[in-house]
Each structure stands twice: as C-alpha cells, then as structure tokens.
C-alpha cells in the first residue's frame, strides 16, 4: 500500500508560456481531508488538476495511490467534481444520465443501463437527498441539486480519492452544510481521501483538518489553527487579513476586509462585538 494517497514532487505547471505553479511539493496521506485556499488565479484549480493529469507539467512528478500520473493519463479509482461553470446546461441529459457517467467503465456493452445500474443511481441520489429528481433535465434544477448531481456522479464509482473544485460555490448555506457533512462522513466513515478547493475561508477554518495555502506555489500548509493567522493569510491572499475567534463557538473567523477595505471608515457593527482578535 502506498504511503501517500497523493505525492507531488517539485511540480511546475504551465499553460503554454505562462507558468501557473512553480516547484510544488505536497504529500497527502490516505484518509486526509484537505482544503486548498488562495486568491483567484493563484493556481488552486491547476494544482487539483495536476493531481488528475489534466494540465501540462513542465517539471516534477505526480504520484496518486502509488502510481505515477502522466499528463493526459488520469489516475484510476478517483472521483472528480469540476467547477459548475464548465457545465453545458443546455445539453440533453437527465440527472440519471449524468450520474451514470460516473460508472461508465463498469457498465455492460449495451447503451442502456441495467436494473442494477439504475438501482445504484437511485440509491446514490437518495443518499444525496435528490432521489426524486432522477428524470429531470439538469437545467431544470436549482444550484443545490445541480451540485448534488455532480457529487453523485463522483460518488457512484465508489472512489478512494475525491477531488472537488469549489463544490460549495453558488449554493445556499443549508446546501453547503449538507455537502460538507456528506464529505466529512465519507472521509470519516469510508476513509475516502478528500481534496477540495474553496474560497470559503470560514467554512474551511471550521471544518477541515488540513489546509494548503496556494499562490503560484504552496505558501503554507497545516491544520487551521496554525494556518489561520493574519501573517500567513495576508501573504497568501496578498492583502491585509484579520483572523478572529468567535467567543461563542470557538471557531476561527477570517475578516477579509479588516479595517482597510472600501468601507473601512464605517464603525464596526454590533454583531462584531462578540469577536476577539487572534493570530
């Protein structure tokens, strides 16, 4: 068994002449739950996609589950939920069609799914709380069910590794929490290694055990308690950031605008009286 679920050794990635990631080395043990944070354009998605062999590499080695990943040759036994922005919503597919794509390599030779395939789809959709939507066209769904559909596609193949690119973007708070709970459950109960990118710093701080800060390379990594400090986050995001602790829950919270934002002349609101500065 491989020591690391994912191992990146001095990886640099570029799109044509533009280098996006430089000299990244990262080791993710099996069963870890990793959140990758950083500003837009920092290379989070590229880093995630490099683990899947989907971006050109100019240097370094990527190993997933003990096997070298060459560009253009994704590793097997993984689930991937890309950003929803890449989806063609007008494409004539139902929720069931989309979920079945996740097990395309394990279906029979016929164009139609078997009874067992349909049952598996129904169970997966049920587990994600969208059991009644199998026959609906993907465009007819709202943001939450759409994201759950793509998650179902990733899960139906029973992956040992799950890669998610901003899975909680464009969904409401309830759906975001449901998705995160499900991911935590998969990670804790089934031992699935989860790697996700996110812009939701407070969600990451509150829930994830390991955080990787990305900005054209890896700025820092570790548990949120050591990563969520003003100096590290400010260096990652290239702007002044404050980290405070919610006295009621004990959770770390990132105050992104701080006192330097466009509305900095305003007085702090009553709601922030419960927070105390940290880091």
């Amino acid at each position: 068994m491989a020591t690391h679920a994912i191992h990146l050794d001095h990886v640099s990635c570029a799109y044509e002449a533009s280098v996006v990631l430089r000299d990244v080395s990262l080791r993710i043990p099996p069963g870890q739950f990793v959140g990758m944070i950083g500003p837009s354009g920092a290379g989070k998605t590229t880093l995630l996609r490099s683990m899947l062999g989907l971006v050109p590499r100019v240097d370094g080695e990527v190993t997933v589950r003990g096997r070298a990943v060459a560009p253009g040759r994704p590793p097997s036994g993984v689930g991937y939920v890309p950003q929803v922005e890449t989806v063609d919503w007008g494409f004539p597919v139902t929720v069931e069609n989309v979920v079945l794509m996740g097990k395309v390599g394990r279906m029979g030779p016929w164009p139609w799914p078997s009874r067992a395939d349909r049952r598996e789809v129904a169970e997966t959709l049920q587990r994600l709380g969208i059991g009644q939507l199998g026959g609906r066209h993907i465009r007819e769904l709202s943001g939450g069910p759409q994201q759950r559909t793509f998650l179902a596609r990733a899960l139906i193949g029973r992956p040992r590794l799950l890669f998610l690119d901003e899975p909680t973007a464009s969904v409401d708070v309830k759906t975001r929490d449901d998705i995160l709970h499900l991911l935590v459950q998969l990670n804790r109960d089934d031992g699935v290694t989860v790697v996700m990118t996110t812009h939701e710093l407070n969600t990451v701080a509150a829930h994830l055990p390991w955080v990787v800060c990305v900005n054209a390379g890896i700025v820092a990594q570790g548990p949120p308690t050591s990563i969520f400090t003003a100096p590290i986050l400010s260096r990652t995001f290239g702007t002044e950031m404050r980290v405070v602790r919610d006295l009621e829950t004990g959770n770390l919270l990132v105050a992104e605008a701080g006192t330097h934002g466009p509305f900095s002349s305003r007085q702090p609101s009553a709601a922030s009286h419960q927070l105390s500065a940290t880091g």
Partner: protein, 307 residues
Amino acid sequence: MAHFTEPFHYEFFRHGLLVATLVGALCGMIGVSIILRRMSYIGHGLSHSVFGGAVVSYLIHWNFYLGAGLWGFLSALLINATAKRRNIGGDAAIGIVTTASFALGVALISKSRTFTRNFEAALFGNILGVTREDILVIAAVTAVVALAMFFGYKQLLFATFDPELARVYGVPTHWVDTGFALALAATVVASMNVVGVTLIAAAIVIPPTTARLLTKSFGRLLILSTAIGAACGFFGMFLSYEYDVASGAAIVLLSAALFAAVYAITSAKRLLLSHRQVALSEPLRSPAPPITGLAPATAGSDDHLFD
C-alpha cells in the same frame, strides 16, 4: 395511389430513394454529436475539404471513396489538433483547414483541364446517377456508423458532454474523437454524390436541431434525429420527382420546412404553457414575518451611498 407508386417503376428512382433515405438517416445520426459539440460548420467545411481530396484521388488514379475518405479523415484530425491550441477556436480551425483543402482542389482543376469526371455532381449532388457501388458504400457506412454509435453510446455521450471529465472516468476520449472523425469523414464522402458538397451541412445540422426541440434526452435525440433525417430523405425524393428540382435541394428544403413547423408549434406550446402556469399559480409562500425588536430602517447615510 397510382401517382404515388409511379416513380417506383424506374430503377434510378428506387436507387435514389434508398440512398437518400440512408444518407438522411446517416447525416441525422452523426449530426447529433456535431451540434452538441457546437461544430455545425464542420459538415460544411469537411465537405469542401473532401472535394480537394476527390480531385487529388482522381489525379493519382485512386478510388474516389478511398482517396476522398482518407483526405476527409486527415482533415478532421488536423482540425481537432489545430483547435486544441488555446488561442485558436474550433471554427477558425475548420475555416483554415477546409478552405485550404478546397482551394487545393480548385487549383488542381484549373491547372489540369483534362477532367472527364463530373465534379458538378459532387458539388450539387446527383442522386439519379447513383451506382450499385454507391449504394453498397452508403449502406456499409450507415451500418458501421450505427453499430459504432450503438456500442459506443455511453462513451460518446460522456465525451460529448464533458471530454475532460470523461477522460478522468476512463473514457478513451482520444479514440472516441478519432473514431468520430473517421465516421464523419465517411459520412461526408458517402453523402457527397447524393446531396452534394454544398448541402451536406444542412443534412447534418437540420435534423438534430429539429429533434432537439422535441426532446431533452440524448438517446431519444439520436433516434429522432435519425428518423427525421431518413424521413426527409425519403419524402424529399418524392418532392424532387414531383416538382422536378434537384434532389439535394428538395431534401434540405423539406428539412428546413419541418424545422420551421416544429419551431412554431413548440414555441406556441411553450407560450400557452407559461400562460396557463401563471393563471393557475398562487403566491408561492407568504413573506417571512418581520423580526420584532429591531429598529425600523430609516433613511440614513447608507441610503445615499451612490449619490
């Protein structure tokens, strides 16, 4: 009834009818992936490209189908490869490769004026001059493409929907693309003598676009598009005979008329449905009750933020 059966007395019509139906079905079938990949222009471009190949194969004494087919296949691969460059779109790649190939054909024709072959037929279609070889080739291409679509349905669906993700889930997208390019080139070459270079694009694009107005399922879209293409080929031939117009033009005009009719009907249906829903609908939910204990909003400095 006798009027309807009269053209069947002529062998050229029977052959033409069979070929037009097969070509209609073939173009309709392959057209689904074409329109979903947003490459509608490729049918038009590739048919021009194949024209260049047809001239070259004539000059070097190759079989027309073999030479033009190989040329079309290589053109499709070249288009795919060129379009992969980030700053070159698929439409530009099609434009460059196919017009260059067509121009080569024209240049060779103008250089060597000893042609006996009727290239006008390749440009505008000549369904009445269909030979047994043509019928065999078209039947074989239709059967092979249909079988490939049947057994590669899941892979084709995924690779068309999201090629990158399909690769992650083990779909050999490179082979799917190559196979598709081969099928498309074969379709264009097989259809060339029937509907002609200039009308192939319409035969490839109109049936799936019409079918798309009628279904939300990829599987049903494939079946409907194939059926519409076959029906337009079949009845278009009758129109061609009845009104003495070019077969390719008759088939395409019938397809376009069918599209217009389906578009009008589905638009009217949608309009009716939305009016009915508005009439029947009640307020979705009552507004959330106001939270007591908070000071009512008053006009303060925030209200004039953009003054």
